[in-house]
């Protein structure tokens, strides 16, 4: 796997891109200028050489015989060599494809291609080549007779000279271009840094504002300067923050109202319930004594039962409202877990129906009232849903710094589709039995109690069947 080598920071990337662009443009400009200047220098050297050669040849050629011998050619070459010492060319002449005749030694090197094309060309032909590491220019000039300009005479004059001085000029150009490009590229980093700073400052402000918002400070706004895309982004951010803040406030007030309503309703229900509950004992006593007609007794019993149920539900609703309002307080006390479990079961007359497995001397720092509520709820559920004759077991133990209490039954377990919602409010284990004995809030309250302790309450099905509830609380042994 190859790692990407693109730099991570926005600033680095911006500067690198800026420098690359400026380097590219400087190089391109330099390269184009260099090409043009070089071509101009070489073309001028070539043109002037061809022109000079033609002038010389034109003045000397008429003296040659129609079919010149080697001696004639040598004389011509000698005169041509003398004529332009300044350029320092060396000439040679060839007649009708014969070997070029030169005077100076060594004979000038002539590229084979030029010799091949020179004989048949109709005008001057020039070719650049390298000889002994320096650039040279060779010219082939076919000579035409004055009386028949269209027909080549078969005489070709060659000249070749060194382009060293032109090459020096070109080298000077290259170094000048190079000397220009490097500081431009280096200097371009400065505006690049400035531009990056200008762009990055609003981006950084935006980022810190977004972080503040994420941390919950919904009243965060940023100051927008200018009228560019970044300013637009800033304005959009502010609009978003304002909308979010309004929505959050609306949501919160709605939530608070809903919580208030639940608490108020339950509270208001308590007073009539208090009157009704105070007399249920009277009804029960009379119904049990047989002083009433059977239907009346049954009706009264029903009313008494439902009143008690309603009372429990209102209690549970009040408790849930307290959790929702964050008003539930934890009263920690160090207790003996075995004693607590025994008390919880004893109070509800469950001792004979539940197997208890708690090590003696196991102590924990918990809110005994809340743990009692959780335990009573779990055991009550197990006894109710697990069936009447099903063994229910309460186990406790210390696992590290935690107190782990499990309540297991061997009943049918929790249906898979209910399992994820088992701690939701008003979830009933069996949808067909909507009016079960519980209020539907018990497990929700139990979970809230566990959370208040900084612990957890989880539900699962045992592999061998039956439900397993696990309460994990921080033990905090004092």
């Amino acid at each position: 796997m190859r790692r990407r080598v693109v730099p991570r920071g926005l600033r680095t990337r911006l500067v690198v891109a800026f420098v690359l662009v400026s380097a590219l443009s400087a190089l391109t400009t330099a390269a184009l200028t260099f090409r043009q200047a070089r071509a101009a220098i070489l073309d001028r050297a070539q043109d002037s050489a061809v022109h000079d050669l033609r002038t010389q040849v034109d003045s000397l050629a008429p003296d040659l015989p129609a079919s010149p011998e080697d001696a004639d050619l040598r004389a011509l070459v000698l005169q041509l060599d003398r004529a332009n010492g300044a350029r320092g060319w060396r000439t040679a002449a060839a007649f009708r494809g014969g070997a070029p005749v030169a005077v100076a030694a060594p004979a000038p090197a002539l590229p084979a291609r030029l010799r091949a094309t020179g004989g048949t060309a109709r005008g001057a032909v020039a070719q650049r080549f390298h000889h002994d590491g320096t650039p040279w220019l060779a010219i082939a000039l076919p000579v035409t007779r004055a009386e028949e300009p269209s027909r080549p005479s078969g005489l070709v004059v060659y000249a070749s000279f060194s382009l060293a001085s032109q090459s020096r000029d070109v080298d000077t150009l290259v170094s000048a271009a190079r000397a220009g490009v490097v500081p431009v590229v280096i200097l371009s980093a400065v505006p690049a840094l400035l531009a990056a700073r200008r762009v990055l400052r609003p981006v950084r402000r935006l980022r810190s504002a977004a972080e503040d918002m994420a941390a919950g400070a919904l009243d965060t706004r940023i100051t927008v300067v200018g009228d560019d895309e970044l300013a637009d982004l800033g304005r959009t951010f502010n609009t978003m923050a304002a909308t979010l803040q309004t929505d959050a406030a609306t949501l919160r007030s709605m939530e608070a109202k809903a919580r208030r309503f639940a608490a108020d309703v339950s509270h208001e229900l308590r007073t009539p319930l208090a009157a009704m509950t105070a007399v249920t004992g009277v009804l029960d006593a009379d119904a049990a004594a047989g002083d009433l007609r059977p239907e009346t007794a049954e009706a009264l019993e029903l009313v008494a039962d439902e009143t008690r149920r309603l009372g429990r539900m209102v209690e549970d609703l009040m408790e849930i409202s307290r959790f929702d309002a964050g008003a539930a307080a934890l009263h920690l006390d160090e207790i003996d877990v075995g004693e607590l479990v025994g008390k919880t079961l004893g109070l509800r007359h469950w001792q004979d129906r539940v197997a208890v497995d708690v090590p003696t001397g196991l102590r924990a720092r918990v809110d005994p009232r809340r743990v009692d509520v959780v335990l009573a709820n779990l055991v009550g559920n197990a006894l109710r849903h697990g069936g009447p004759s099903v063994p229910v077991r309460v186990r406790a133990g210390a696992v590290g710094d935690a107190l782990v209490l499990t309540v297991t039954d061997e009943g049918p377990g929790i249906p898979e589709n209910v399992l994820p919602h088992v701690f939701d409010r008003f979830t009933k284990g069996d949808a067909s039995r909507t009016r079960s004995e519980g209020s539907g809030l018990g497990l929700a309250i139990a979970a809230e109690n566990a959370r208040l302790h900084g612990g957890t309450l989880t539900a699962a099905n045992a592999p061998g069947g039956g439900a397993v509830f696990t309460l994990t609380l921080p033990r905090d042994p004092a």
Binding site: H267, R270, T271, P272, L273, A274, A275, M276, T277, A278, V279, T280, G281, V282, A285, R308, G311, V314, E315, M318, R322, A327, A329, H331, D333, E334, I335, E339, L340, K343, G346, L347, R363, R365, P368, R369, D372, A478
Partner: protein
């Protein structure tokens, strides 16, 4: 038979509770305001007061404080408010017990009986009649049910007195809140551990020199309370 004064503004609850208590053989007088309740104290001379906290005019807490100023009559609060803070405030005003509405007549009667029984001496102590015990600056007279500090008699609510008598009967023995609840309040329910704490606080305010650094009723962190060592 107990003479019960019920101070409750809601007519439904008043009638319901009165009916339930009458059926259980208690003589009950029910009034709707705190002012009427205070008047009935002398006219009716109840054995115990059942007091609602939310009353028109004078609040239940105020009624509770006024009664505590003039008598050691047992007071049980009967309230629809069940938040911890309400319970603690109610108990600190001087009430002996706190019942959250709705409660059946059975529960109300059981709590009343427990409060009334509290004044009987603890069964596991041998009492020498007429001879006050001395604990530091405190003089405890178990038969006359009197407590004096530096010779000045203290006015203690029934639950405070019973708690003090119970703890001082076994000096230096530590009792958990649960044990105290069972022995002093005759409750066996974890929910009411705050009863113990509120009562200890009130008791300390009356008997200690510095309630923040208690000498008589000391806290044993993680276990409960004990009397002494002095």
């Amino acid at each position: 038979m107990t003479r019960v004064l019920l101070i409750e503004d809601d007519p439904g609850v008043r009638r319901g509770v009165t009916l339930g208590l009458r059926r259980r053989g208690h003589e009950t007088e029910a009034v709707g305001t705190g002012e009427d309740g205070l008047e009935s104290l002398t006219a009716f001379a109840p054995d115990i007061v059942l007091l609602d906290l939310m009353l028109p005019g004078m609040s239940g807490l105020e009624v509770c404080r006024r009664i505590r100023e003039i008598s050691q009559l047992p007071i049980v609060i009967l309230s629809a408010r069940s938040d911890d803070v309400d319970v603690v405030v109610g108990l600190e005003a001087g009430a002996d017990d706190y019942i959250v509405k709705p409660a059946s007549d059975e529960v109300i009667e059981a709590r009343m009986r427990a409060v009334l029984r509290r004044l009987a001496p603890p069964p596991h102590t041998s009492v020498t009649p007429g001879k006050p015990e001395v604990h530091g600056d405190l003089d405890l007279d178990r038969s006359a049910l009197r407590v004096a500090k530096h010779g000045t008699e203290l006015t203690l609510a029934p639950s405070e007195l019973k708690l003090l008598l119970f703890l001082s009967a076994s000096p230096e023995a530590t009792f958990s809140r649960q044990q105290l609840l069972e022995q002093v309040w005759e409750h066996s329910y974890y929910a009411d551990a705050r009863l113990v704490d509120a009562c200890v606080k009130r008791l300390r305010a009356k008997i200690e020199d510095d309630p923040r650094r208690p000498r008589y009723v000391q806290t044993v962190r993680g276990f409960g309370y004990r009397f002494g060592p002095l």
